[in-house]
Amino acid sequence: MRGRQLRRVTRSTVVVLGGLVALVIVATALFAGGLAPSAPDEQNFDLIESAPGAKALFGTDRFGRDVLSRVIYGSRISLYVATVSIGIAMAIGGVLGLTAGYLGGAWDNVINRVMDIFFSVPGLLLAVGIAAMRGPGVNSAVVAISIVYTPLFARVMRGPVLAEREKDYVQAVRALGATRLAVALKHVLPNVMSPFVVQGTVAFSQAILIEASLSYLGLSAQPPTPSWGNMLNEGRTYLETAPWISVFPGIAIMLSVLAFNLIGDGLRDILDPNVQ
């Protein structure tokens, strides 16, 4: 990212809006302890399934737990899983894509073959399958989402690297005696980062969605640890008597996904005008 691009980023209302919402969500997760009115697993048998009101802003669930506090704590799971899994996927996928594109030959071939295997099963089904096989838990969600996104990042990295490699300046630097690694890191990488970063932001919002789906199916964070997805799952049986248990975590998911989608959209327009 160069200075001019950065200025354009900060000037885009879409990105700023998304960024603000995202900031609020991150802050919520970081300072959950201070923000939440009560502990997420504190039960209050005098206040079971009570509607939103003065005593509990978002109402309470079957154990008399405060839904607002649980939504606040739930942000931690979503952000943790999305950050770690996309981080892993970008790191591994990036290295694989860079080396495949830059080195080419047999290595490129092997990586492509292996990536093809993961691309041969629809993404969500792959995530659900992997998580189900690993057994329920937050780490299963991380592993599943990482595995789904690694091939994608490898592909997003490989294409531009392949194109860049052939360009004159790279050939020139190579001719001057720079090592392959140095060329790859110093010259090729900076020039192909834009689509990679854009893809990262979009994937981050998708990771939040997938984590929520996995939680909802009982494959990610396990109750009583609150996550937005498992709260929705628990709330499902109380739709008729206590709809607030399901409404608020759903809004939380939607807002955070929306925030990161906005950032991704804005970044794409600015950094990478060719990609639609």
């Binding site: 697993d41 039960q43 079957r62 154990f63 329920p136 009982g218 396990q222 109750p223 049986t237």
Partner: protein, 513 residues
Amino acid sequence: MTTRLTRRDLLKASGAALAALSVGRPAHAQAPKPGGTFVSAQTTEATGLDPQLVPAFSRSRRSPMMYNQLVRFDAEMTPVPELAESWQISPDGLTWTFKLREGVRFHDGQELTSADVKFTFDRLFEKSPGKSDFIAVDRVEPTGRYGVKFLTKEPFAGLLAALGGFWGFILSEAGIKKHGDLNTAALGTGPFMLQDWKVEQQMVLKRHPHYFKKGLPHVDEVILRIIPDEANIVAALRTGQIHHAFLEDNKNFNLLKDEKTLTGYRSSRLGYDFLNINASRGPLRDVRVRQAISWAVDRSQVLRVAASGFGRLTAPATAPMKQWQLPEEQWMRYYRPDLDRAKKLMADAGQAGGFTVKLGVIPTFPTMVLGAPVVAAQLKRIGITAEIENVEYAVWIKRWLAKDFDLTMNTTPGYADPDTAFFRALHSTKGQNWNSWSVPELDSLMEEGRRTLDQKKRKDIYDRVQILILENVPHLWLFSADTIDFTQASVKGFKQHPMTLLYGFEGVSLDRA
């Protein structure tokens, strides 16, 4: 002496033979209308149908639709004749002779004979996990076409309970020869014949035209639908899309009880939910710690959350085990939460500072999921941190069989006889020992109870067993949830059963007015 008393007791029981058919007879005077398709919804699919190879309760529930037992328990949990017309016991208490009903036909039209019964139990002893119910039985021998002898190694008071239990269904020899196993097929004497089974969708059963109970069943066809989400079952009942459903989550009783088009049924069940303690793990070895746990947990609070209060606290012998009841004041006094006492016991055990354990939960069992956080919160008050650990069913079973757990929520469909109910769970060497523990006095009492055929003496023994259990705390009997069924008001003749098996369908009829 003992023998004579015993025989009189048993004769009393078999005197019920005359009234046997009343089980299927509709309660109201108006003759039930024949015909129609009866649709019932279940949340969980059966994992297989073979009455001897599949231990899951989902299988046991369905078995009475296709099979019969020699003996069955009536609504009062008294054994009454079913395929066996009557039975006798030898003076030494080692041989039971059953007389089979004549003219009973299997679904393929063949007549039930003693050879089928012998075949059934030979197969059971050879390859079924259910053989543990019949542990004291040595062998089964036919005597003539309609007589069967059970020879036992020692006097075995639990035999009738085993025959009327989850593993007592009688198979046809021809059926096994034809199908190999009976996981996807059925060939029994029961009121319905398996027509088609689409796993996780529906099971279609047709009326058995030669059913031995005359005039039954009334309906032509039964369809068991799988609707995995109970919210949808509630909706389906309301909109009349199904005739019957058994509720897993008792809170839904409140949603349906005022619907005019529905009839609700509620009764006590044999089964119960419990907190299973592994008494070989760290501080849990100390009986004082286990007692502290018992004093700390407010069972009525668990009942309130996990079963919406529809159920009852229970002694080790649950309410339907009527003849084995301990007077309420004798067990209730163990159930009044007493934190001071609990804390003192913890301190005496050198655990005043508390400790951390894992509390297992199977995520697909609603009462476990709902009960565990309540138990954990209550244990927290005496310094025990119970970390809830969700364990998938297959893994849970594996760990549970290996005794690899500290505390776990657990649930059981229950047993009619105290021998089957307690011996296998709690005996330190000869049973399954669910708690990895040993209380020698309890062991010898349970062995005595198994050998004792005299009802009064047995009752004394099991009263003592229950008190010992309450004092040594292998589990916490948390609650016994009520069985709740709903049918459309147009459904007549449905009956609940304390064992929650689907005995009730043979008597239903549809009032299509």
